[in-house]
Amino acid sequence: MAMEYLELCRISKRFGKVIAVDELNVSIKRGTLVTLLGPSGCGKTTTLHILAGFIQPDQGEIYLNGQPITHLPPHRRGMSLVFQSYALFPHMTVYDNIAYGLRIRRISRNEITARVTKIMELVGLRGLEKRYPHQLSGGQQQRVALARALVVQPYVLLLDEPLSNLDAKLRVAVRTEIRKLQREINITIVYVTHDQEEALSISDFIALMSQGRLVQFGSPQDLYYAPANQFVADFIGGSNFISGFVTHCTETECEFSVGNYDFLGRVVNANLRLKMGDMVLAAIRPEHISLHFAQPETRTNVFEGEIIDTAFLGGKTRLWVQIVNQETLFIVDISNISTTSDLQNKKCWLSVRPSDVMIIEKL
């Protein structure tokens, strides 16, 4: 088996009775940014701490460049971690914080100065050398943490929810910068976050975790357009779910009926092997639904319903639609509605293209 740059093989870790990480396998290509994504408590930070060597896994092996490194103490792994709290040393200046790892490695004074100056330039911290961490803004602290981790030229850069202490605007700006920086110096990054939008925008690959297990590994597009199961479809982007009985199907497409509605959908999971009479679960994203106030001509992929609530969200308007003869409450995002005042209790029809009906599971 050809090994990737960084391999996690069957990593497991328990804390008492709680299984934090359960047989986790992840392969990470050199120079890519891989996100460990999942709800809080899914084991992503534990996985990161296992990578950094702070926690010893109960079983499994980590390989870096083909070499097992699980037994190595944290200070010999060459994996720099940017902590969620940044963990800047409060008793050191910005310069001393960034130079710390180089001094530990007994690098010559001149080279330290050169490398620290260069990295500070790179992350835009010039002129702040003599400040102490508490004299910096949140965004500046974040850059210091990043510079401190990068200056030692780690094999892998680990980022633990690095943006969670920044305000919303700054968060978007910094994540763009991180992505730019990663491409510039072509470094391998393992990035932990619980924010799916952040993960989608920044990653080459996403490892979506739940309850210590890997649920799906793939590109952001894979996870968005071909979710492996209900959890993925719900966690990434959010979905409406419908279930019905298969009436006709091929490898890639499938017709099914939900009550007296007929649907044609796309089978996103090739190994489902559906046959007639199976019960399937399909996901429909709120932004893929079209709203009509007159009955469309086609009867396939059309729901009849009543708008029961609305929320104006700026770029889009969110509607909650009660489907006629169904218990389902659909969430619909519409971008071209100017007013919501007259929508309440209005009768409507929802339609969706067959390619946007993702058949994800056999029930």
């Binding site: 930070t45 534990t46 701490h49 950094a52 702070f54 103490p73 944290p74 200070h75 010999r76 994996m79 720099s80 971690l81 902590f83 969620q84 709290s85 963990a87 040393f89 409060p90 008793h91 710390y100 790892g101 530990i104 490695r105 401190r148 981790a149 030692v152 633990d160 969670s164 202490n165």
Partner: protein
């Protein structure tokens, strides 16, 4: 707040103003910041200021002004005084270093290892805080004195513990718990992610310890050192029992009064004792207070403390065990001594000595108990009221009174004792010879503990919680009683128990203030030791220790607050 509160009230609808208007006019607690003339809080403030002036500042100034300049110079330049001063500085330096070192290692083991029996080690370390200052010295005499178990019975050597080496050992053991408690607090608040960050950047355990842990803990360690230096400089109980003919300032001052009744010289030397204490105290409060790096970060990283290597763990475990063993021996020896026929000669068990616990000895124990309970309660109450009504009320003048509420923590017991002796022996206020003077002195001396914990708690509670109660319709008094008061129960209880313990175990203040038939246990024990009545001294010490523990435990049960656990609970907030 009164002004804006009234205007806010007027903005409200008439109906609600009628219902809640009263509550908005005069809230109790904002008075801590805003002052309105001639309301009840003003009167309380003035009473507190008056009390502190009469019972703290007046005695202190009395000592300062008692000797003339010539008498100062004469007293300080005497060879005996110079020797005592030199000895005091010497023992303060070495005992401070050793006690802080032991305290640091002890605290380090508690925070950076997974050694078994941490609760046990913690409780053992707290024991010296519960007992009179000379307990360790007394046990040391039983072990290493002229008739000591080890020196006389086992080794049959002529060497004994008396002298500065003995004092050094005893003070190290007696005062390391103070350093341990302070440093434990500091180490436990260091964010472990900082140490993980250092390791992650390539630091070894040793490098991390030297570049991260020690620098971060340094302000706390220095603070512990300064506080211990104050205690050790003022320590009277241990040197009087064990230093023998090796004089230090406190014993010399006592000798000047009890031997020669040379109050002028005693007052002069007491001032010499006070000045360094005040300086240490001010440094520890101002300079180090602002340099603390211990920050509370919002989100926890989920990482627990980075543990040290197995070898270091074993070494630290052995070290803690050794310290704990010595402490157990100290208290064990006292217990055994209380039930032994003749220490060093005849080891038969007996209850004979317990008959000593009658008459004047019993009376002194009862006096101790009464004084300590009243003084502890009073100190807690005044500390609480001071925190409510004095702390940072209005500008520089109140800043001074704020300082007077913490000042007693820097005053050596000897100094305060002499101050009370000089101040209340003659009109206008004559209190000498009564229990009242003992109670007042001990009360004033213990105000800072309750004051500081209550100030911290009130800051933590903030103004919003009582305002929330008021906005829900509670009257100001009701809001205070239902929100702030329950939250101050912990600090109050802590102030009471600590004040009680310090009062019942105090020797240095009360030794100057006891009158005929108004003896207290610690002084009685010291007299017994000086008359070489060791078994009776031991019995009374064990009894006093027992009473102290019972009251401390009872108080914790009654108040429902664990006061001697590790970490935040200890400060009761």
């Amino acid at each position: 707040m009164n002004g804006s509160g009234a205007s806010r009230g007027s903005l409200r609808q008439p109906e609600s103003e009628k219902r809640y208007g009263g509550a908005y006019q005069a809230p109790l607690f904002p008075l801590r910041r805003y002052f309105r003339l001639f309301d009840s809080s003003c009167i309380i403030t003035l009473l507190l200021v008056l009390f502190i002036s009469v019972f703290l500042l007046y005695p202190v100034i009395k000592v300062f002004l008692y000797p003339s300049m010539a008498q100062y110079i004469n007293a300080i330049t005497r060879p005996l005084a110079l020797r005592a001063l030199r000895n005091s500085l010497f023992i303060t330096v070495i005992s401070t270093i050793s006690s802080v070192l032991v305290g640091f290692l002890y605290a380090y083991a508690m925070n950076y290892t997974k050694i078994p029996g941490k609760t046990f080690f913690h409780i053992i370390s707290v024991l010296p805080l519960l007992s009179p200052p000379f307990v360790v010295a007394l046990a040391w005499i039983l072990l290493f004195g002229p008739r000591g178990l080890i020196t006389y019975s086992l080794l049959r050597v002529r060497w004994n513990i008396f002298g500065w080496q003995g004092l050094w050992l005893v003070q190290t053991l007696a005062f390391f718990p103070y350093a341990y408690l302070v440093i434990d607090n500091v180490l436990s608040s260091i964010d472990p992610t900082l140490e993980y960050a250092a390791v992650n950047l390539g630091g070894t355990g040793k490098q991390t310890f030297l570049t991260i842990t020690v620098p971060l803990a340094l302000p706390g360690i220095l603070n512990a050192a300064l506080l211990n230096a104050i205690y050790i400089l003022a320590d009277f109980g241990n040197p009087i029992v064990i230093a023998g003919s090796w004089p230090v300032l406190p014993t010399t001052i006592y000798g000047l009064i009890s031997g020669h009744y040379d109050v002028h010289s005693a007052a002069s030397l007491s001032t010499m004792l006070l000045l360094p204490s005040i300086i240490f105290y001010i440094i520890s409060r101002s300079a180090l207070g602002s340099k603390s790096y211990v920050t509370v970060t919002g989100r926890s990283s989920g990482l627990s403390k980075k543990l040290v290597s197995p070898t270091t763990t074993v070494m630290l475990f052995v070290f803690c065990s050794l310290v704990a063993f010595i402490i157990i021996v100290v208290y064990g020896v006292l217990l055994v001594g209380a039930f032994t026929e003749t220490w060093g000669l005849k080891w038969a068990l007996t209850l004979r000595h317990w008959s000593a616990l009658s008459g004047t000895a019993l009376q002194s124990l009862i006096n101790s108990l009464i004084c300590a309970i009243i003084a502890g309660f009073g100190a807690a109450l005044l500390g609480l009221m001071g925190a409510q009504f004095i702390h940072k009320r209005f500008g520089h003048i109140m800043r001074f009174w704020d300082f007077t509420f913490v000042l007693p923590a820097a005053i050596p017991g000897i100094f305060l004792g002499i101050g009370y002796l000089l101040a209340f022996n003659a009109p206008p206020i004559v209190l000498s010879g009564t229990l009242f003077i003992l109670i007042l002195a001990l009360l004033v001396w213990n105000i800072p503990i309750a004051y500081q914990t209550c100030v911290a708690a009130i800051k933590q509670i903030g103004d919003e919680i009582p305002y929330a109660a008021i906005s829900l319709g509670a009257s100001s008094v009701r809001a205070f009683l239902s929100t702030v008061a329950p939250l101050l129960r912990g600090p109050f209880a802590y102030g009471f128990v600590m004040g009680f313990l310090r009062a019942i175990t105090n020797l240095s203040i009360v030794i100057f203030l006891i009158g005929p038939g108004r003896n207290v246990a610690t002084v009685h024990i010291m007299n017994l030791i000086q008359y070489a009545e060791i078994p009776r001294a031991v019995v009374l010490t064990v009894a006093l220790f027992g009473v102290a523990i019972i009251v401390a435990v009872l108080a914790q049960i009654v108040l429902g607050i664990p006061l001697f656990g590790r970490g935040k609970a200890r400060r009761g907030s």
